[in-house]
C-alpha cells in the first residue's frame, strides 16, 4: 500500500484531512474541557467546604 | 374602580404605551433615522449601478427593517420592569397574553408602521418599479408585526439581563429568517414577472400563527423572568 499516495488522496488531501483533522481536534478539545471542568468543580467545592469548616 | 373588560384593558395598554412614547419622541425617531441611514449605506458601499441596486433593494430594505426592529425591542418591557408597572401587570386578573398583545401592537405602531410608511421613499432610492414598491410595502405591512411579535418573545426572555440588545438579537434574528426570506421573495417574484401571491400568503400564515402563539408564549416568558 503506497502510503504517500493514500495521504495525497488524489489531490484532495487538504480538504479531507482538514475536515477530519478539525473534527477530531474539536472532539478532543471537548473531552479535555469536560474533564477539566469536572476537576475545577470538585476543587471549588472542596474550597467552599473547607472555608465553611473554618467558621 | 370598575372592572375593565379584557378588550378595555387591551386598549388601555396600547393607549398608555403610545402616550409614554409620545413624551419621548426621540426614541421613535431614532429608530426611523437608523432605518434610513442603513438603507442609504448600501448604495454608498456597493456602488451606484442601478441594475445591481434594483436587485438588492428588497433585501436591503428588509434587513434594515429587521435591524431597526431589534433596536427598539429594549423599550418594550424594560421601562415598565424598572418602575414596577410590569409586576402589577402580572397580578392583573385578566389574561396576561392580551396585555402582552397590547404591548406588541403599540410597539409595532411605533417601530414597524413608520418603516412601512418610509419604505416607498427608500425604494425610490433604489429605482424600484411602482409594482415592486407596492409589493414591498405590503410585505412589510404583513411582516413587521411578526417581527414585533418574535421580538416580544425575545425581550420577555431576556428581561433585566446584562448582554442587553445583542443577546436579544442573537435569540430573535434566526427565528425571523423565514419572514425575511418570504418578504424579499415576494418582491423578487414580482420583479421577475411572477405573482407574489404565494410569498405573501405564507407571510400571512406567519402573521396568523404568531398572533395565536406569541402573546401566550411571551406572557409565559415574562412570568419566568419575573419570578
Amino acid at each position: 500500500m503506497n502510503w504517500l499516495e493514500f495521504f495525497a488522496m488524489k489531490g484532495y488531501a487538504w480538504y479531507i484531512w482538514g475536515s477530519y483533522g478539525i473534527a477530531i481536534l474539536m472532539i478532543a478539545v471537548e473531552i479535555i474541557l469536560v474533564i477539566h471542568k469536572r476537576k475545577i468543580t470538585l476543587q471549588q467545592l472542596r474550597l467552599i467546604r473547607d472555608a465553611d469548616k473554618e467558621d | 374602580m370598575n372592572k375593565l373588560s379584557l378588550w378595555g384593558l387591551f386598549g388601555l395598554v396600547i393607549r398608555r404605551d403610545l402616550m409614554l412614547a409620545m413624551r419621548r419622541r426621540a426614541d421613535v425617531l431614532t429608530t426611523l433615522i437608523f432605518f434610513v441611514i442603513v438603507v442609504s449605506l448600501f448604495p454608498l458601499a456597493v456602488g451606484s449601478e442601478m441594475d445591481m441596486l434594483r436587485k438588492m433593494a428588497p433585501g436591503v430594505v428588509w434587513v434594515a427593517a429587521l435591524l431597526a426592529s431589534m433596536l427598539s425591542l429594549g423599550r418594550m418591557f424594560s421601562a415598565d420592569y424598572l418602575d414596577g408597572t410590569l409586576e402589577q401587570m402580572l397580578l392583573v386578573p385578566q389574561s396576561l397574553s392580551i396585555l402582552v398583545l397590547g404591548k406588541i401592537v403599540a410597539h409595532w405602531m411605533l417601530s414597524g408602521l413608520p418603516l412601512v410608511l418610509m419604505a416607498p421613499v427608500l425604494g425610490l432610492q433604489f429605482d424600484m418599479s411602482g409594482q415592486a414598491l407596492l409589493v414591498l410595502v405590503f410585505s412589510l405591512l404583513i411582516g413587521t408585526p411578526v417581527l414585533s411579535m418574535i421580538g416580544a418573545f425575545g425581550a420577555a426572555l431576556t428581561l433585566g439581563l446584562r448582554g442587553g440588545g445583542v443577546l436579544v438579537s442573537l435569540l430573535v434574528l434566526p427565528l425571523c429568517i423565514p419572514v425575511l426570506i418570504f418578504g424579499t421573495g415576494a418582491v423578487t417574484a414580482v420583479t421577475g414577472g411572477v405573482s407574489a401571491a404565494s410569498n405573501l400568503s405564507l407571510l400571512g400564515a406567519f402573521l396568523l400563527m404568531s398572533l395565536l402563539f406569541t402573546p401566550w408564549v411571551s406572557a409565559h416568558a415574562l412570568r419566568i423572568s419575573m419570578e
Binding site: 473534527a23 472532539i27 469536560v34 | -
Partner: protein, 245 residues
Amino acid sequence: MAINWFKYAAPSTFYGLAGKLVPWFAWPAAILFCVGMYIGFFVAPTDAVQSEAYRIIFIHVPASILSMMIYLIMAGYAALGLIFNTRLSSMMATALAPTGALLAFISLWTGSLWGKPMWGAWWVWDARLTSELILLFLYLGFIALQSSIEDPRRADRAGALLAIVGSVNVPIIYFSVKWWNTLHQGSTVKMSGTSMHIAMQQAMFTMFAAMWLYAIAIALLRVRSIILERERNTQWVTELAEMQQ
C-alpha cells in the same frame, strides 16, 4: 426484578448511574469510530464522480443528522423540566447543548471543505448547509441565554421556552430555506449512480453510531459536573468519595 426508574430522576442517584455508564458508551464509540474510518478509507472505493473528496461525507452527514437530533432531544428534556419541574431534565438539556453546537459546527466546516472541491466555492448556500448554520445560531442562542442568567431555575425555564420555540421553528426554517434555495441554485449532491456502494453505506452507518454513542458519553460526563455544581449544598455531595480529600 422491578427497577424503580423514578429513583434515577433524582440528581443524587443519577450522578452515580451516569458515572458508571460513561465508559460503556465511550469505549464502543471509540472502537466504532476506528472501524468506521477504516471502512470509509480502506474498503469503500473511489467514487467515479467525486473521486476521493466524497469521503468527507462519513463525518459530515453523521454530524449534521446528530446535530439536528440532539437539538430535538435537548428541547425534549428542557420541555420535561419545564412541565414536570424536574431539575435533572433541565440539567441534561444544558449538558447536551455544547455537544450539539459542536456537531453543527463540524457539519458546517466539513460541508464547506466538501463544497470547495466539488462546487468551487467555500460556501454554498444550499438548503441543508444554510439550515445547519441557523441551527448553530439557535444552539448558540440557547447557550448564551443560559449563561447570562444567574438564577439556575430561571435559566432552566427560559432556556426551555427558547428551545421549544426553536424546535417548532426548525421545520419552518428548513422549508423556507429550501424554497429560497431552489430559486438561487440548481446543483444538488450527485454521486455516481443513484445507490451508494455498500461499503459507503456501512461506513456512514458505523460513523453515525460512533458519534451518537460519543454524544451520549460526553453529555453524561458533562451533566455530572453540572449536578455537582447545582447540588453543592446537599448532604450527598459532601459525602461523595471524590470530595474526601
